[in-house]
C-alpha cells in the first residue's frame, strides 16, 4: 500500500491535493480491531512510509500514531459493522486525515509563514476531503457485504 501511495496515487492528485489511502486502511482496521491495534498499526505504517520516502524519519510515524489513536475512539465492539458500512466511516476517515495532515505540517515545516486559515484549508482539510471520497469504494463494498 505504501508503494501504491507513492507511485500510483500521485497520478490522480488534483494540484498538490493527494488522497491518503494509508489513512483509509488505518481507519478501517482500527474500527475492526480496536484502539490499541490502530495506534500500533499507525506507528508501523508511519515508519514504513518514512523509510521509503527518505523524508524526516519519525514524522509520519508520529502523525499516523495519533491518527490511529483518534480513529480508535470510534471503535465499538457492538457497532463494528455499522461504522464501516455507513457514511460515518467517511467522517472518521476525514477526521483522521485532517489530524494527520495538520501534524505533518507542524513537523515538516521550519519556516512556513502562511496564514493559519490557508494552512488548515489547503493543506489539511482539502486533502482530508479527497481522502474521505476515496473511502467510498470501501464503504460500498462493506454495504454490499452487509446486505448479503
Amino acid at each position: 500500500m505504501v508503494v501504491l501511495q507513492l507511485s500510483i496515487i500521485p497520478f490522480i492528485s488534483i494540484g498538490a491535493v493527494v488522497p491518503n489511502i494509508l489513512i483509509i486502511l488505518l481507519v478501517y482496521f482500527t474500527l475492526q480491531y480496536g484502539q490499541i491495534y490502530g495506534t500500533i498499526l499507525g506507528a508501523v505504517l508511519g515508519i514504513l512510509f518514512d523509510l521509503v520516502t527518505g523524508g524526516f524519519l519519525g514524522s509520519t510515524m508520529f502523525s499516523f500514531t495519533i491518527s490511529g489513536f483518534i480513529a480508535g475512539y470510534f471503535y465499538n465492539e457492538n457497532k463494528r459493522e455499522f461504522y464501516i458500512s455507513t457514511y460515518f466511516f467517511l467522517v472518521i476517515v476525514f477526521i483522521s486525515a485532517t489530524t494527520n495532515s495538520l501534524l505533518q505540517l507542524l513537523l515538516n515545516t521550519s519556516e512556513i509563514k502562511l496564514a493559519v486559515a490557508s494552512l488548515i484549508l489547503e493543506q489539511s482539510i482539502l486533502p482530508a476531503i479527497y481522502t474521505a471520497i476515496f473511502g467510498l469504494p470501501v464503504l460500498f463494498y462493506n454495504q454490499r457485504k452487509r446486505a448479503i
Partner: protein
Amino acid sequence: MPDFLIHFIKRFKEYFVLLLLLILSLFIMSLNASASVNNFKTLALGTFATFNNGITNFAGYFEDTPYLTKLQKQNAKLMLQVNSLREYAFENNELKNLLKFESTNKYKTTNAKIISRMVSKVSGYFIISKGRNDSIAIGMPAVSDKGLVGIVYNVTDNYSSVRTFENSLFHVAVKDQRSNISGILNWNGKHLVIQNVPTTNDVEIGDRIVVSELSSIIPPSIPVGIVADKETTVSGLLSNIIIKPFAELSSLKNIIVLKTVANAELDSLENNIGENIK
C-alpha cells in the same frame, strides 16, 4: 499499591501505548542525523525504488520514447547556454570588457526519469532512476529544460532521492539577473519566496531570478524563476519577493542532473573562517 498500579495501567492501557509510541517516534526523529540511520534509509530507498521503477516503466510504456528524452536533454543544454548569453548581454550593457562568447555547458549531465514523487506542499521529493553507478552524488543539482528543480539528497547504487524546491528545507542563494540583488530563496508552503529584501532594492516584477555566485551548493546562473509579486511587510522597509518558478514540477517526467558538487575547497575555507571567528 501494586494492585492499584496494575488496575490503573489496565484502565488506561491505550494511553500508555500511545505515549510509548510517541516517545519512540520522537526518539527516532532525534536520530535523523546519525550515519547508521542514513545508511538504513538509503537501503530502504533502493529497495522501494526498484519496485517503483517497475510500476513506472509499465505506466509510461506507451508515453516516453528515447527520442523525446534526447530532445529534453538537448533542450536543457541549450537553456544553460542561452542563460549564459543573457548574462553576458547584461555585462556588456554595463560597459564591461567581456565580448567573448564561451560555451556554458562545462558540466557533465545525465538524464534521469522520475519514478516516484512525494506530492506534498511542504516536503517535495522525487526518486529518480539514476544512482551511484551513474556517478550521481549527494549535493548534485537537478534541473529541467526550463530551470532548477532541486538537489540530490540521498543516493543508492541505482536510484537517488531529489529534494525539490517545493520543500521547506530547500534553501538556495539567488540573485536578480538584471540588478544583481541577492537573497535566500525558500519555499513557504505556497510560493517560492525571497524574504526580507529591502524595499529600496531594485527588484521589478518580471525580473529573472538565477542561482547566485554566493551559493556554494548549486552552480551559478542556473535559472530559477521570474519575479511574480512583491509583498511589503508591515514595517514597509522590507519586502518578500514571490517567485514563479520556470520548472513545473507536477508535469515533469524527466530531469537532468548536473554532475558537479559543492566546491570542497570553498566549503573548507568557509568552515575555517567560521572556526577562527569562534
